[in-house]
């Protein structure tokens, strides 16, 4: 709590105090003889939340990583307790459920704040429900379902609103941003789903009236299963990305100078994609394309990749096959979609002098044009066997010089704009075992064809081999 600003600390303390008083009074009122029977309901509902949380425990790590835990158990339980218990009892259920062991490891003060917040919100919602003429529902008593629906939906809205206000205020006080921005940034998206989940709370209460407490288990069971499966989905997705990354690293070990290259090209490609207003699902695909763009280098003998001196024609041809080899490896991965083309054509040039197909301008797929720029940029700003890393300013100048001939000008400008806005972290992950770069001793293009200064001469070679009618690519 120490890291919070003074105002936020004061606010958190006030909310926790108010919540504690409320819950304490609630618990006291429940000890009155005529209310004793409601303890069973309170315990039953709290127990269910506990079970729901414990179900996810083995999946803890993945759930924390998942951006949104998309299925709510709290909201249905909150609404059900408003309907079944009313203002006396409902806040206790929600306060207790927030304090129970759960998948997310929060510091104590956050847990206390959440508990107080939920208790207060439920309390206000319960009074709203009662104020609108809604009656509490209990087992064995008939009630008019139509008279319940309107008040409880309003109460659900109120509960959500109070929750949102209390939460947004603490974030706004901590981060010093306007509350509206916080709400739109973090909570607006989940507002409607949460409201819809409150209907499950109504179902629990309705079935409770004729079938008893087992209704809560029955209604929540499919939701718990769904949440459990969602968490597994998140775990799988995390596993999936981690596996892909480590396999890519294995590929990079073949070429010591390009460690971390794929990861950085992927990052730069995403920057370009976002700057040019690409849809988010395409950006994801683009990220894969960036990561995998050099996967075909596996098909190039290590001897050639690690050679420090000048390459022979045959060795160039071997290197030039890597985009085609990359396509071979990734071809069957349906989910890569556009990325496969991006991998295949990332060494094409706008002026048609690239490889493997010699495509020109708009013929080159958008992903390939993006990766070409990101690739060149990273190659220039990191250390290579034949020269040291250049500064970002130099690299930008070089990209500008080559736009229109080698690169798509739109993508070059998008990258420059994005780097100005977000900065660029040149983490040159070069391992220490590599000797210091020898800048002048070697021919300007070395063994690297990602570097545009090298590529002009390479392009000439490609043009030459094409004129000679030599096969120069894998096809």
């Amino acid at each position: 709590m120490r890291e919070l600003p003074f105002g936020a600390r004061l606010y958190v303390a006030a909310v926790v105090l108010a919540g504690s008083v409320l819950v304490a009074v609630d618990a006291y009122l429940l000890t009155q003889p005529e209310r004793r029977s409601q303890w069973l309901t309170v315990l039953g509902l709290s127990f269910l939340v506990l079970v729901a949380n414990l179900l996810l425990t083995p999946l803890r790590r993945a759930v924390v990583d998942a951006p949104v835990v998309s299925i709510s158990i709290d909201v249905p339980v909150g609404i059900a307790s408003v309907l079944l218990l009313g203002p006396i009892g409902a806040p206790l259920v929600m306060g207790a459920s927030a304090l129970m062991p759960s998948t997310t490891k929060l510091p104590l003060f956050k847990k206390l704040f959440n508990a107080a917040m939920l208790a207060l919100a439920t309390w206000v919602a319960a009074w709203t429900y009662a104020g609108l003429g809604g009656a509490t529902i209990s087992y064995g008593e008939t009630f008019d379902a139509r008279a319940v629906v309107f008040p409880i939906l309003v109460a659900a809205l109120v509960m959500e609103a109070v929750n949102a206000i209390l939460m947004v205020t603490v974030i706004a006080l901590t981060e010093h941003v306007s509350p509206l921005r916080v709400w739109f940034g973090t909570m607006a998206e989940s507002a409607l789903p949460l409201f819809i989940y409150s209907i499950f709370g109504l179902l629990i209460a309705v079935v409770w009236s004729f079938a008893g407490p087992i209704s809560a288990v029955l209604v929540l069971a499919p939701l718990m299963v769904a949440r459990w499966v969602f968490a597994q989905f998140a775990a799988r997705q995390a596993a999936y990305e981690a596996t892909m990354r480590s396999l890519i690293k294995a590929v990079e070990t073949k070429d010591l100078y390009t460690r971390g290259h794929s990861e950085r090209v992927s990052r730069a490609s995403v920057l370009i994609g976002r700057a040019s207003g690409m849809r988010e699902d395409r950006v994801t695909t683009l990220r894969y394309a960036g990561t995998l763009h050099d996967v075909g280098k596996l098909g190039v003998p290590t001897r050639v990749l690690q050679k420090a001196g000048k390459l022979t024609d045959e060795e160039y041809q071997a290197i030039q096959q890597h985009p085609t080899r990359g396509r071979e490896i990734t071809r069957e991965l349906e989910f890569l979609g556009e990325a496969i083309e991006g991998i295949h054509y990332h060494h094409e040039r706008i002026d048609g002098r690239g490889y493997p197909m010699g495509l020109k301008g708009e013929e080159i797929p958008e992903f390939a044009r993006i990766i070409a720029v990101a690739d060149a940029f990273d190659s220039m700003t990191t250390t290579r066997s034949y020269r040291g890393a250049r500064s970002i300013e130099d690299a930008v100048l070089e990209l500008r010089r080559c736009k229109g001939s080698q690169f798509d000008p739109v993508m070059v400008e998008a990258l420059i704009e994005a780097i100005e806005a977000h900065g660029w972290d040149v983490t040159d992950t070069l391992p220490e075992i590599i000797p210091a770069p020898i800048s002048e001793a070697l021919p300007t293009f070395g063994s690297d064809d990602d570097d545009p200064t090298a590529r002009d001469s390479l392009a000439e070679l490609v043009a030459k081999s094409r004129d000679d009618g030599k096969p120069w690519a894998g096809e």
Partner: protein
Amino acid sequence: MRVVGPVVFLAGLVVIAAVTVVYSRELWQNTFTDDAVLRTCAAFALFIAVGEIMRLTLPGGRESAPLASAGALAFALLPLWIGIDGAKGVPTPLVITVVTVGSLLGAFPRAVARRAIHVDELARRILVTALASWLMHQVLVWAVPESTTTLEEQASKVAILAALVAAIASVADALLAAAIRSGNERVPFRTAVVDEARALIGIASAIAATGVLIALSYPRMKLWALPIFAIPLLLTQFSFRRYATIQATYLQTIRSLSKVTEVGGYTETGHSRRVADLAVTVGRELGLSQRDLDDLEYAALMHDIGQLSLSEPIPGGATTLVSQLDQRQIAEYGAEVIAQAGVLDKVADIVERQSDPYRPRRGSVDPDLPLESRIIKVCNAYDDLAGTSLESDRQLQALERLALGTDREYDPAVVDMLAAIVMRDAVSV
């Protein structure tokens, strides 16, 4: 032994018996002259049909139709039946008839679209629903006094009993599924039971809960109960679908990326895929559970990834033919790469130990060597020696060499199982 034949046959007999009873007795008259009863039957049949159309592939490839199963269960558990002489619960023959009609109705569009129809699953549903209906009748007779005219006052008791019946029915369903799979795929029955329990526990509890809910609420909410309580189950179904998709993508990716050693010229084309297929077959028949089989498959696909650390490929990629020390280094490097992912520790362990001999010292077996590693060692060696050859001479020679290696390198049980599988396939070819 194939179990699916007898199961389908039994289900067929049950259906014929049920339809005959419904058709011949006063049940027919009572059912189809009362509008409310007719509507109920039609609604449930329709619900089951829709559920059947909205099938779902569970992670791991099992098929399921949660809505249809929940609808069938609900119909079997309906505690109040307005109609025939105060009978409690829906007559079992009628339950079977309605469930069969609904399922066939739902299967019809799939048949037209030439999608697979799962006869064994249909048979399972019919038998399990029959069991649930029969149990529910016993329970109602035992628990509800003769004098009760409405079940209202007994509702809480009935609810708990219905949940119990649903649970028993789910267990029976899993056992039946395990028996069918064990017969079809040569999996030991115990392993099949564990696999089915793991695969079905989530979706089965959601189905059971929804079935009981619909049955309990039906007297109050009438037909509304069907669509309303289908919503949570649909949500469950949706999340299963997403999970199954990512699971499939994961396997697809590892399969594709395992080709990197082939494209790099380190191994022969198709080597890792062949080793993986062989290893999974051997592992399955040796009784590994599905979860272990998944790890085995990943490990087998990536077992050669360590070769990427070599600057020059081994001729033919055959790790069996290089020195023990080199083999171990390749294995260790591969394990290191896989362990970096942070989520495949078991797989990394299997890969790391793939080159270890079965008996490191004369006579003594290494007790910690994972069975999966032993399987990969044998299958890898077999593929290195026999390759894609279908000539029985070469296959026999390879097997012979493996058999000779059982005094030190290879696990005899794995070699025996591999030999049995290779021989069987040779005969069937």
